[in-house]
């Protein structure tokens, strides 16, 4: 970091919802840049509080967007929690034959139907390691790029819910067939953080959305899903994305981002 990039913008004070300790963070250019580059315009600043960590989310304007506490970060020792998913989990996957995801910072491993010999791709970023086996051949550069984006997004997520990471792998299964998909990072970010996010509908946008049903959204996404999102004032992202079918998870995540890009919904960090 250059000294210029550390130029102090302002101090933000908030309180840890777990222990009540004051949290003081400096909002500098680097944090604002990170928020600007984040798909949903947020950057997380981690502060350790003994047996837990508090992450303060800052938006691109330097305002607080929520504080979330993660207890799993403080789990001691080398012990990993291993989630071995039954082979049936992969029944609706078209392209991924097996996977293992290791998250060192959460001391968590999620695996499904992957033998050591079956590893066709090994992607590492920071504390996240993803091994994949495929049902068919893909262009190596495409697979490598998409897996790279996914593992990078996983590494920056603090979700403790293995379902969020499973959803992200479901989406990878779908977009392997869409190598030109432009917004993979945004979709991956949304799903890998799904348990920590909620959707809040905005007025009057949600009302006008229901009434006029813009063609681009209602012709290209599941209308029933769009209306179900617009109909409730607030809902957890994880609940909205929940489905066994990879394509449904992908399509719903894409639809939520489309609504967010138009100001119909806000996506907020759940405290």
């Amino acid at each position: 970091m250059s000294s210029q990039s550390l130029k102090l913008r302002r101090i933000l004070k908030t309180r840890c919802p777990r222990c009540g300790r004051d949290i003081v963070v400096e909002i500098n250019d680097d944090i604002l840049r990170e928020a600007r580059e984040n798909p949903l315009g947020m950057a997380g600043i981690v502060e350790m509080h003994g047996d837990h960590a508090a992450v303060v989310y800052i938006d691109r304007n330097g305002n607080e967007r929520g504080v979330r506490v993660y207890s799993v970060l403080a789990k001691g020792g080398e012990e990993y929690t291993v989630f071995t998913l039954p082979p049936a989990t992969l029944r609706e996957f078209n392209n991924i034959a097996g996977f293992a995801l290791t998250l060192k910072k959460l001391r968590m491993r999620i695996q499904a139907d992957l033998s050591e010999e079956g590893v066709m791709l090994h992607a590492v970023k920071g504390d996240a390691v993803l091994d994949l086996d495929f049902r068919r051949d893909f262009t190596w550069s495409v697979v490598k790029r998409l897996a790279g984006v996914l593992v990078e997004t996983i590494d920056s997520s603090y979700s403790e819910n293995p379902n969020d990471y499973l959803s992200a792998i479901k989406i990878l299964d779908v977009i392997l067939k869409e190598p030109n998909f432009l917004y993979s990072k945004q979709v991956f970010w949304l799903v890998t953080n799904a348990s920590t996010l909620s959707v809040r509908t905005r007025l009057p946008e949600a009302m006008l959305f229901r009434k006029y049903k813009p063609s681009m959204l209602f012709e290209r996404y599941d209308a029933h899903f769009l209306l179900s999102v617009a109909d409730v004032p607030r809902e957890d992202v994880a609940k909205l994305l929940k489905s066994d079918n990879p394509y449904t998870v992908y399509s719903r995540a894409d639809a939520l981002l489309a609504m967010y890009k138009r100001g119909i919904i806000d996506i907020e960090v759940v405290g």
Binding site: N180, Y183, Y212, P214, S215, M216, R220, R262, I264
Partner: protein, 288 residues
């Protein structure tokens, strides 16, 4: 609903436009937004003040007259447009402006205009695999639908202001992708490679209208190949109060239809056709 009543109905939006502009002025006074936003707000407020008599007369003529459903839609969407405009002026947020465009295209008047244009497009470029340019539209619905139907490439051409908005460019890219057409978004200054090779040029809403109607003709003619089609939606803002409402977005007065027809000839178009839909007109012309 008579044509005159459409114009009278636009005066009923003045109180909300006034409130919006007062709020913009107040916020810019607190350091939010630019000095240009404050200047615009002052100009619109002065115009509204000067038109008070016309507003009262229009309200009186509208009294007891049922407002047609299509005009109610226009009013409702336009009210949201004021909110979107305020957010754009004060915070530089474009996403609400994009949504305003998308809502506008779902009103009955626009749907009728689009249906009429689409049927003319199908007559002229039926079954071809050509190239379409849509000018300055954050939500290029007609362009991608025409592209999908005619299996044509769709080039979305933006002026600098629109092109430099990440939100707008991203959503325009979504349109191309979601309607499964081949295409791209390009900056106006970098679109010279398409000159003289385009079969259909489209413009439909505020961001295109802001370019001025002479420039739109000139740009369309520059892109179109001989026999290519210009398909556009234009506003009837030669009369108050739509004139003042659209000035809030920087749209200047459009020429009367007869003048538009003459101008079309001057810019090298023939077979000028027009159909009116309330406050809008769908026009088409063929490049000579």
């Amino acid at each position: 609903m008579s044509e005159d009543l459409y114009f009278d109905a636009t005066f009923l939006l003045f109180p909300e436009l006034k409130k919006t502009m007062e709020s913009v002025l107040e916020e810019t006074g607190k350091g939010r937004g630019s000095s240009e936003a404050a200047e615009l707000a002052r100009m619109i407020l002065t115009r509204i003040d000067n038109l008070r008599g016309d507003m009262i007369a229009a309200s009186s003529r509208m009294s007891g007259v049922p407002v047609a459903p299509e005009m109610r839609e226009v009013s409702e969407v336009m009210r949201y447009g004021f909110t979107a405009l305020k957010r754009k002026l004060l915070d530089g947020e474009d996403k609400y402006h994009v949504f305003f465009n998308e809502l506008s295209y779902e009103t009955r008047l626009y749907k009728s205009a689009f249906t009429s244009l689409m049927s003319r497009i199908a007559e002229v470029i039926n079954g071809m695999s050509g190239r379409i340019v849509e000018i300055n539209d954050p939500a290029p619905l007609l362009g991608v639908k025409a592209g999908f139907r005619t299996r044509s490439e769709v080039i979305i051409v933006d002026t600098d202001e629109l092109y430099e908005s990440d939100v707008v460019r991203e959503i325009q890219g979504d349109y191309i992708k979601k309607y499964l057409v081949k295409g791209r978004v390009v900056r106006m200054d970098e679109a010279s490679e398409y000159e003289g090779s385009v079969d259909l040029v489209i413009y439909t809403f505020i961001d295109a209208w802001r370019m001025g109607f002479d420039r739109l003709y000139a740009v369309a003619r520059r892109f179109l190949t001989s026999g290519g089609l210009l398909a556009a939606v234009v506003p009837f803002n030669m009369r108050e109060g739509l004139r003042t409402i659209l000035r809030a977005w920087g749209v200047y007065e459009m020429a009367h239809i007869d003048d538009l027809r003459k101008k079309a000839g001057k810019y090298g178009f023939k077979d000028f056709r027009v159909r009116r839909y309330g406050l809008l007109a769908a026009i088409t012309a063929i490049a000579k």
